[in-house]
């Protein structure tokens, strides 16, 4: 009886080994990282009194990783269009324009409009953005309604610009 049990155990051992060997497989996994990036937006700028316009730099992108050529970053620009002060009700109106580096051609950048960072075929995002129609938007310019200087009461006027960014499928434009 014991001999039978021993042979059964040995059989089970070989069966386990053979099953184990036949079940051997190679699992290939690919971990595709999610895109991440750093958006660099203009910081605090002081604008000279009675200036008609001022460059505030531009929006760039850096530290991008995980992008495919089918993805790009869009940034919507939102602003009130007024410098205000808590002391008075008077406001200084302004608008934003953008242009390419080394170019004098300016394009309107109204509140709610978007710029985009397109990607190359290898998934690398361009550092500088364009408008939706492809016009360059390297540099932003604040254009001030000079008539407002005449009525503005003394004080510190401020405004903020908000940048809403997101990763989207390539628009193909």
């Amino acid at each position: 009886m014991k001999r039978i049990i021993v042979w059964l155990l040995i059989g089970a051992l070989f069966f386990s080994l053979s099953v184990s060997a036949s079940a051997t497989s190679t699992t290939l996994t690919i971990d595709v990282p999610e895109p991440s990036y750093t958006l660099n937006v203009p910081a605090t700028q002081s604008i000279a009194y009675r200036a008609s316009e001022a460059s505030i730099g531009g929006v760039t992108i850096s530290n991008m990783s995980g992008f495919s050529s089918a993805q790009e970053v869009w940034v919507k620009i939102n602003y009130s269009g007024e410098f205000t002060t808590p002391q008075y009700a008077t406001a200084i109106r302004y608008s934003l324009k953008c242009k390419g580096n080394g170019s004098d051609t300016r394009y309107d950048l109204s509140s709610g409009s978007s710029i985009k960072f397109t990607s190359d075929s290898d998934g690398t995002l361009n550092t500088y953005p364009t408008l939706a129609d492809g016009s360059p938007a390297d540099e932003f310019i604040v254009v001030i309604d000079t008539s407002c200087w005449e009525t503005a009461l003394g004080g510190k006027y401020t405004t903020t610009i908000t940048y809403d960014a997101g990763v989207y499928a390539n628009s193909g434009t």
């Binding site: 014991k2 021993v6 155990l9 040995i10 089970a12 051992l13 386990s16 080994l17 099953v19 184990s20 079940a23 051997t24 699992t27 996994t29 971990d31 990282p33 999610e34 895109p35 991440s36 990036y37 750093t38 958006l39 660099n40 937006v41 203009p42 910081a43 605090t44 730099g57 760039t60 850096s62 530290n63 990783s65 995980g66 993805q71 970053v73 401020t158 903020t160 610009i161 908000t162 940048y163 809403d164 960014a165 997101g166 990763v167």
Partner: protein
């Protein structure tokens, strides 16, 4: 006493240690088989990286505010306490106050003021989220000057998908 021609020899006893050895091998093999047959679980790593390298000297950039953006972040389902935290890049010269909102505007979390080069405390949600994906969620960056006035500066919002598992 002399053994007869047809006298059987007494059966040899298999030592107990041999039985134990065989049993251990079988148990081990079964364990190996079971572990191989278990399905591979997909591990979606969080894309969250601070992007900071502590070994390199960071140059402050007064003209620009660096805003980290992500397409997707992963949260743990059915619990408010998360392990995720968010950085204020060291090159910045402003405080960050970061908020996480759902698409419908529901505030999930808001940080304290975060100094440049620091990260927020691990986030604690205002309510636990069920498993699923929450597209068009918003990571809102409010920026404030580092002087006594704490004046609001240009801010940013980044759209992302919350993957809750």
């Amino acid at each position: 006493m002399k053994k007869g021609r047809y006298q059987k020899e007494p059966p040899k006893r298999i030592p107990m240690i041999m039985w134990i050895f065989v049993a251990v091998i079988i148990v081990l093999l079964i364990g190996v088989l079971l572990s191989r047959n278990q399905g591979d679980t997909t591990s979606l790593k969080s894309s969250f990286t601070s992007g900071m390298d502590s070994d390199t000297a960071i140059e402050k950039n007064p003209d620009s505010i660096a805003i980290p953006g992500y397409e997707m972040i992963q949260l743990v389902a059915d619990t408010k306490k998360q392990t995720l935290s968010f950085p204020n890049p060291p090159q910045n010269m402003c405080y960050f106050q970061i908020s996480l909102l759902l698409e419908d505007g529901t505030m999930l979390w808001e940080s304290d003021l975060i100094e440049p080069g620091k990260t927020s405390k691990p986030i604690v949600l205002t309510k636990p989220l069920g498993r699923g994906t929450y597209p068009n969620s918003i990571l809102r960056y409010s920026c404030f000057s580092m002087d006594d006035e704490r004046s609001p500066l240009n801010g940013a919002e980044t759209k992302l998908t919350l993957l809750v598992k």
